[in-house]
Amino acid sequence: MIELDDIDGLAAEYVLGTLPLDERDAVKARLPRDAALRRAVSDWERRLTPLADSLRPIAPPPNLYSKVRAQIGLSSHVISLKSREQHLVRRGNRWRNFSAGMTAMAASLAGLIGYNAMQPPLMPTQFVAVLQSAEDKPAFLLTVDTKTQNCVITAVTAPKQANKSYQVWMIADKLPKPKSLGVLAEGEMNVMPMAGASDADNAMFMNANFAVSLEPEGGSPSDGPTGPVLFQGKLIQATP
């Protein structure tokens, strides 16, 4: 009968997942500095993965990939766009109204949109709003292309809530009350709020606040938000 030595036994149970929480945490802490344990863990991962592979596949919801992409865009550009961020901040007053965190996040996203658009991005036609709660990570991303009048709202990290829907609103001085842009059914929706709008309306849209409230499933029962406003943000220009 083969016996597992201490390291092998620990690695095996770590990979199997049965270690009590404190021992599990201790293994995690030890892994970076213990090559023998690391090797034992990767051996057990290799041995047992066929069991995971034997599960019948279950497709994740179709919108998950766009969330992953949005999250990746955020991260990879936070690093690479440091200089652009500084440039945007230097551009003056316009940016001072944003909190530092908002500016950094928005600048990163601006880079993402500009980068993804690939068309010659010289005309300022791409705009983006990061809708987030006070200090939290971005929950929704609202991107607008003024040329196509297309506006896409993507849930990035907002958790789904049972029997509730997220509803997106535009809030502007000129509007007597918040105007609904729609209820987010899946993780992403496409609206054209500016189609056929006058220049004045467009200007209002570009300067509006956008907010997401939590409503009963299917959306607000009245013509304004009834639930708490969870996330909000303003559009900034995405192309330099």
């Binding site: 095996a12 997942g17 049965t18 057990w44 069991l51 995971a52 497709a59 990939y65 992953v68 999250q71």
Partner: protein
């Protein structure tokens, strides 16, 4: 046709260079498999979706660290998903009732599909044969731990044994599996 090991290696190498098309293809090839892994442990769709999102984010970030000499892409990614899921489930995610039924189906073996493996099918077959060499109860314990994420405590309750006994059983079963796999 599931992608071959070589194809997955190529895709990860592309991801490491920041190639979005490789990433899309890798997601396409592996996400259903990994979602099944997370869902089986978490028994909660929302939680499984979040874990999967984080896992692919990590795959994108860490693809450069992946070493094909040490692990296959699926082993690497499944470990990321399982570790995240286990961390989550130990923090007691509420399990939704609808998904519970699916899990019960799964326990009956309905959820397992050995012929569909992304790894070489002989790896899957070999592990299954070695598992079958364990006594039925021990076999079940290993599956419940690995696939369903049951803790020692939960296994002890389910099999009405002290945790110490479960630990001994686990160690003996794992040692026997290792011996069988190395033959």
């Amino acid at each position: 046709m599931p992608p071959t090991r070589t194809q997955l290696d190529g895709l990860i190498a592309g991801v490491a260079k920041g190639d979005e098309a490789s990433f899309a293809e890798l997601y396409q090839a592996t996400s259903s498999k990994l979602f099944a892994v997370a869902l089986r442990i978490l028994r909660n769709r929302e939680a499984a979706e979040e874990v999967l999102q984080e896992a692919y984010f990590k795959v994108w970030e860490r693809a450069g660290d992946f070493n094909p000499a040490l692990a296959s892409p699926l082993t690497w990614m499944a470990a990321i998903v399982r570790n995240r899921s286990l961390d989550e489930v130990r923090r007691k995610v509420p399990k939704s009732s609808g998904d519970d039924e699916m899990i019960l189906d799964g326990l009956a073996g309905d959820n397992e599909h050995p012929l569909d493996g992304l790894e070489r099918q002989e790896d899957v077959g070999r592990l299954m044969r070695c598992l079958e060499g364990l006594e039925p109860e021990k076999q079940q314990i290993v599956r419940l731990a690995y696939l369903d994420g049951l803790s020692r405590e939960e296994l002890a309750a389910r099999f009405s044994r002290p945790e110490g006994t479960i630990k001994t059983w686990l160690h003996r079963s794992l040692a026997q599996l290792k011996g069988c796999l190395e033959q």
